[in-house]
Symmetry: D3
Subunit: 255 residues, 6 copies
């Protein structure tokens, strides 16, 4: 059976990393998984949350916020502030992004700083949470490289790269990296966040109004591992092409 | 190595189901997993959310709310209404409870009704989300039995029972059903919601500031399956002991 | 004329006190007035509100929160956090509970601590505010006894016990301790919070869309005094049965 | 013992009623009890709350809102909207005002209209809630008279006048109509809302961190009755001086 | 063509300044522009906003709040707190009032104090924002005079008086100081805040669903200058009639 | 005197229009004024606000929302939803954008639709409100062209193009199109929204803690007219380069 967009079942969508999209951020990227596009930004601020000071925890903190821009969906999505409360799904996703990145960033290496990750979806076509984690990792590493170039860090607190991808069951078949049309009709939807050497960070499998077997779970996991290994390679290519001294305005401010 | 409370690594805590704890609810239970206690309630209301009517979806809807009572933790926890917004963790958990129950309840069998599930934690000692799913399933089935006894339903819309349990890695060892002390120090925390015949509904594995391997993931999954099969048996015992015509006040109102 | 539930006009409903219902609280009780059930908890925290520090007031503070659990009523009640604001009636009741307990607790005896009282209605059948005051007093005294047992207080700051009961006019007759069916149709509803020696703390009489005479007011007051004297006796029985050293976990933490 | 402002213990402060203070309202008055000043307004709107329509209740509804203007107190008071939530005390008072007026207004006589009462404190010197009830009654009656003059009502739905006054115990002595300095130090504070023929509508007695006896309660009640009878006479004088056809703009709009 | 109320095109409405309307405020006035009436108050508090301390800015701060009382409009206006958020128009107006007064008050002369301006519309008949600025200036100057009289300031930090007036285009004609009926149908609405010597502070011209030419803009500006020069003269008359030592209560508290 | 970035006093910054930046929107553009970049989107939805239906107003409605992305500023800006309320400045700006576009769009030509404009600042370097108006006009026209291409409109409801630019006084000199460094230190800041034939839509001049003369006002206006005439030409070039049938996905959905 063929996928609508002609991909093989185990094929990820075309990936893109447009670096430094938000030029006031310490690090930023517009990440694309096919038609899904997310602006990911990383900014370091002095200071840590109060609970860390109260509990006398050393090092820094990392936190993430996620939002869908109103025009990212085919029907305009109302802003959270108009509805007066954070969307439950957004809250869940931003917690996932934060946990995923905290697993690969050495918080002690941040010093007494808070690293803010922001992920704003510019176009939603399935997999916005996995694209966000993937892009956030790149944005964070760009920020670290700028801090090193500015003499404010000696080495990157990024222990390994993290990336993420989805897999699901659609018309009985396990597929990698679902787009919106596949995701909408999938009986099961899994998301994997892993390190570049394929250790698990977060595994979430969910059968909305359906269930799945252990065998299916393992088959999807193999797809996820294949996807992550390819995505991680593309993250490294993107980061390797980055010149941390090019955006002089930021660099000067950091020094 | 022994666990603090003397359990074997693959042993669930003592389970308890105190039926009809909230006697104005259609179905309710105080579920205990060791020292963790959660009040779970199920109430059916006429009507469905507006989006169902707009999209012309048949049948009913099921939604869940989760909250920790202020005195459920050793340090008093401020109420959400005092903070002015729903706690992010609570939001994530109530979405999980809702998805888990929607996987086993036939929404068409609800008629044009909304089934409200409420889970309020009376005492928190680890595993409140898995206890909530487990108790919610019992509360929902009790409600269905009352609707049948009152002649308002002909058969239970519950297709299979759902229950949930956690597993984790603590000092390098895979353990089933973590309590608070274990959970706090665990490097990995997994939650499994499954049907009584051990199909997966929700699988969530999370390495907060840590990672785990595929082998560990599969070992924890086996613990989860063992736990769920025992818990499901206890759910059935509890439900079998229920007399749906005993609480006359509710029954009369339903007729 | 007979009451629906067969009680005499001056008879209180059956009272119950299930001690230590919330085992993480310093003191707690599930209080019952007939079918009305309220979880009452008392927890002491270090520190006092900012206004006390600013005004240099010595001693501690006592504050109360009241909420109806969603399944406490026959029609499910939406949570305050879903509506985005505290219910006006809840706000009024929690202020009443706080004032009533502050009248009998020696705030100086608390030290620089805040005493949090929480009252969550598990089942509502009329008189939830009077049951809350009555239960809160017991929960607070249990907490004080634990602090004494742990060597953190030398004597109980509870000067006298406080309890409360309602009276009303229903079909022209003065009745003590109205249940929901009586309360709904009563032309006048009074609530009395008194000390165990029958001094007044709070008196609230309200004729919703009706009025009452001074004579009726005095007749209802006599009912209230009879009710409080019986309830106070039952509070003492409950407290006398309490073993402050039994819940070892709390005691150990306090020491 | 003399009072600071030279009044006898049973003497109310100087009363004032400045009619039609808010000339866009259907009825309004600036009521003064000594230095306490409250703007009271009454406006009728077509339509009733949804719950009345759902429960098929005939007639109209009456609701009240109360607020302290930021400059009504010696220390500027922050607006509720800046704090993001309604002040608990304001919530309690506006519920009291609403209940008090509903006891004397024939809701059926309103037709399918909602009567909005607004009380905004311009200067606070004790007794703002009793001044609000007293002024609200006058504002409402002025609105009714305009509706009659405009041919939109045939008779006033006001069955009797309602007014209110406080009494308290200050340095052991029962005093009528406490001002701020007396109220601040009073051990007991009572508020009485009564009809002009001295039937009780609302009785609230509160011993903040103190208690009081039945005898004191009855002594304060006698003061309250004396106060209300004087205040009611002044309400009638004010209303009698009103010309409902004078404010042509409102009258024309009503016709 | 004649205006509805018989005024010339370049004529302002009748102005009124009722001083000390809110007698607990440091300075206050009820300002009238024809039927538009606004309560304006000025209160000084110790302390400055946190951002000033963080940025080490010397002197004080001045901020304004604006609100329409519910009964200021012919249709009752819901309070912001009932809607849960500040009205967008109110937010815009209060920012304008704040900027206008900061242009004429020497913030350094305030010392480490915050000057709170409150403007509450009692009756709205067009031009509430310009009336607010005009009244706020008077209220602030009254407060300064009281601080001088109390020995807490040596000279008024008011550098010049500020006032404001509107102009607009109505049926093709430029008119000064629009009332509600004119404003509603005007194709262009301009607001001018100026100093008493006719320097511009704020100029806002807005063609709601319409446009205007440079010539029209300049013609309206000339009207605005004429209006402000007359209004400024009336402000001075009002302030000159003020006796800063008359309200003894405030003066005593300031000393 | 030279400007920091080498521009002449009457020179606008380099303009850029990246069309279709948000490919799910009906029309969108990333507009640049030098380093200031704003994502502008236009989406049409069926239906109009309730007040239009109640007042029986024909045609459609147009409304705008404005937000600064957290990474648009050098110090990360907290999201409104984290602060729980809409920023006052954002509220003011989005009202300005809405009014400016309503002046040039024929609302009747929209049919019973609401046109949502969203402006999200990607990088802030001064002039974000004028860039937003300029970009919003382009985004709206692109949306109209797609509706025409899809056969859903017969002609564009855009009567004329609207654009905006700032001018200000910096070190005594009038400058066009201030960047952030100039804006920060400017004594006066004016914003002009005009039609392409230089009629005024909105004129806002503001002297934050300063004033300005009529002559300066007129000099800045001439700069504004020069700026707008250049910007309008660039808007037309951008729109002329647009192929409304290129984004097939949107076009297909519209048909």
């Amino acid at each position: 059976m063929n996928r609508i967009d002609g991909r093989e079942p185990d094929q990820v969508r075309e990936l893109g990393f447009q670096l430094d999209i938000a030029r006031h951020a310490h690090g930023s990227v517009l990440v694309s998984f096919g038609d899904t596009q997310v602006i990911c930004s990383a900014m370091l601020e002095k200071g840590v949350p109060r609970w860390m000071m109260q509990q006398n925890v050393q090092g820094g903190w990392l936190t993430a916020e996620y939002s869908m821009l109103p025009y990212s969906t085919l029907q305009r999505k109302h802003r959270d502030i108009s509805r007066g409360k954070l969307d439950g799904r957004s809250s869940e996703i931003q917690r996932l992004i934060g946990r995923s990145l905290r697993a690969v960033v050495d918080l002690k290496g941040l010093g007494q700083r808070t690293l803010w990750i922001d992920c704003d979806v510019l176009r939603a076509d399935g997999g916005t949470r996995t694209a966000s984690i993937t892009g956030a990792c790149v944005a964070v590493e760009l920020a670290f490289q700028r801090f090193i170039a500015a003499g404010k860090m000696t080495e990157s607190p990024m222990k390994k790269f993290a990336s993420a991808v989805s897999a699901g069951i659609w018309e009985g078949q396990c597929l990698l990296d679902l787009n919106y049309h596949e995701d909408k009709d999938a009986s099961v939807d899994c998301n994997y966040a892993m390190t570049e050497d394929l250790e698990m960070i977060e595994v979430q499998g969910s059968g909305e109004e359906a269930t799945f077997t252990e065998d299916q779970m393992i088959e999807m996991l193999q797809l996820g591992k294949k996807g992550v290994s390819e995505i991680a390679a593309r993250q490294h290519e993107a980061v390797d092409s980055f010149n941390p001294t090019a955006n002089v305005e930021i660099l000067t401010r950091l020094r």
